[in-house]
């Protein structure tokens, strides 16, 4: 017990913040919120609402790619319900399909990062492929609760 407390304290000092054990449901919701924000930058660029900014676009793709890594791990057994999760039961009944969808998201965002589009025309192709992932996954693996 003493060791555990010491370890926790050490973690607080080392990382500069309290070790916050979020539930997987909340963690993945937070991740998806970040993806939505990144998508906001990209979609507004596509719509011409904001001027093309290669750095902002690169950062948004990077943020999505980071979110995609190990994303499937945020859906462990036992996190099927609770915290207003909109995860579909199919994530657990069709695990290989879900993991494949996440891998595609990772691969497409990875290509987008590597493509490093310099102008709006180069950006359009990368955007289309990345954006397709959102719907493909939500079509099968998310259910609306509200």
């Amino acid at each position: 017990m003493k060791n555990a407390v010491a370890l926790a304290l050490a973690a607080v000092f080392l990382t500069g913040q309290a070790v916050y054990a979020a539930e997987p449901q909340q963690e993945r919701q937070q991740t998806m919120k970040g993806v939505g924000e990144a998508m906001g930058t990209l979609a507004k660029t596509i719509k011409g609402e904001i001027e093309y900014d290669a750095t902002a676009v690169a950062n948004a793709f990077k943020k999505m790619n980071e979110a995609s890594r190990n994303f499937a791990d945020k859906f462990p057994e036992g996190s099927e319900t609770g915290h207003e999760t909109e995860a579909s039961p199919k994530i657990w009944s069709d695990r290989p399909g879900f993991e494949k969808a996440v891998q595609e998201f990772e691969a497409d965002t990875d290509s987008a990062v590597k493509a490093a589009p310099k102008d709006i025309d180069e950006f359009k192709a990368a955007f289309g492929r990345v954006a397709e992932n959102c719907k493909t996954c939500h079509e099968t693996y998310r259910v609306k609760k509200e």
Binding site: M39, A43, K47, E86, A131, K135, H138, V143, K144, K145
Partner: protein, 310 residues
């Protein structure tokens, strides 16, 4: 005593005859087919996407050009049993390639099959009944140009009493109406177009409106959202009091075009396929739908609020 028995018997026969008459499948009159010209295939294709035919009738999971092969087979797990979308490709035996336009129009507007039987309202003829004859004519012309498939979809698997087709006739008396759901005072052409697309071919109300115990739409709660008829979760309330209350007409049009909500979430579930259909319509049609959704009466959610799990 004898007389009484006889009277009861006579009454029963009369009741049965009246019932038989009331439940008879409907048919369009000859005048409905007057003045139709050669089908306009481009307009027919627009009607095909507006009507969402491929979303149920293409093979499950079909993408791209495969959506044009209306092979059937999609399973719809409803409260009444399992429906299987039939093959409506141009194949003359497995599909509907052997039908006449009259037979097609009676299926679409009356829910009556060429054999003179009731179709089940899992096929949304309750909405399609509002499609104009001219649009149906164009649609039929277009559908005949699509590929044939020899796939045979399974028969519906329904429990009693829903397996009695004739009973759908009574249901139709209650729920098959071709007048507009929402009436407006001097609507603009665009608003009328939006109403036509949503209430007719788009058949949006079939999922977005809650149903009675026997599966009829509660028109007083039009578009108020409903439990998902085919699985878990809900179908959102799309009236001005619903989940799109803060969306502008531009936001709604953009969502229908791209699948992105104003906060860059996306369409999910069966709406993905619907949205991809809507993306194929002219921009003016998406704008008309948006205008209509902003103009319908606001309603509270037509589904129970989610139970707090924790």
């Amino acid at each position: 005593m004898r007389k009484l028995l006889l009277a009861v018997l006579v009454l029963a026969v009369i009741a049965a005859a009246v019932m038989w008459f009331l439940t008879a499948p409907g048919k369009l009159g000859e005048s409905a087919f007057a003045n139709l010209s050669e089908p306009d295939l481009a307009r027919g294709e627009e009607m095909f996407w507006a009507g969402g035919c491929a979303s149920c009738h293409a093979a499950p999971g079909a993408k791209g050009d495969d959506k044009l092969v209306l092979a059937g087979g999609l399973e719809i797990n409803s409260d009444f049993g399992t429906f299987y979308a039939p093959n409506i490709s141009s194949d003359t035996t497995a599909g509907i390639g052997g039908w006449t336009f009259e037979q097609f129009a009676n299926a679409m507007k009356k829910g009556t099959s060429p054999e003179g039987q009731h179709l089940y309202p899992s096929f949304p003829y309750t909405s399609y009944t509002r499609i104009s004859m001219s649009d149906l004519n164009d649609l039929w012309g277009y559908m005949k140009t699509l590929p044939a498939s020899s796939n045979v979809a399974p028969d519906h698997a329904l429990g009693f009493p829903f397996n009695i087709r004739r009973a759908v006739g009574l249901w139709n008396l209650l729920y098959l109406k071709d007048e507009p759901v929402i009436t407006f005072n001097s609507p603009s052409d665009r608003l009328k177009r939006g109403r036509y697309l949503v209430e007719g071919p788009g058949h949006c109300g079939e999922c977005h409106t809650p149903r009675t115990l026997i599966g009829g739409l509660k028109l007083g709660e039009w578009l108020a959202g409903a439990p998902n008829p085919d699985g878990k979760g809900i179908i959102p309330n799309v009236t001005p009091d619903g989940s799109i209350r803060s969306w502008s007409t531009g936001d709604i049009s953009y969502y229908l075009e791209s699948g992105f909500t104003p906060d860059f979430d996306t369409a999910g579930g069966s709406m993905v396929s619907v949205q991809e259909n809507m993306a194929k319509l002219p921009a003016s049609d998406r704008e008309a739908i948006a205008e209509y959704l902003k103009a319908v009466p606001a309603r509270p959610n037509g589904y129970p609020s989610p139970s707090k799990e924790n």
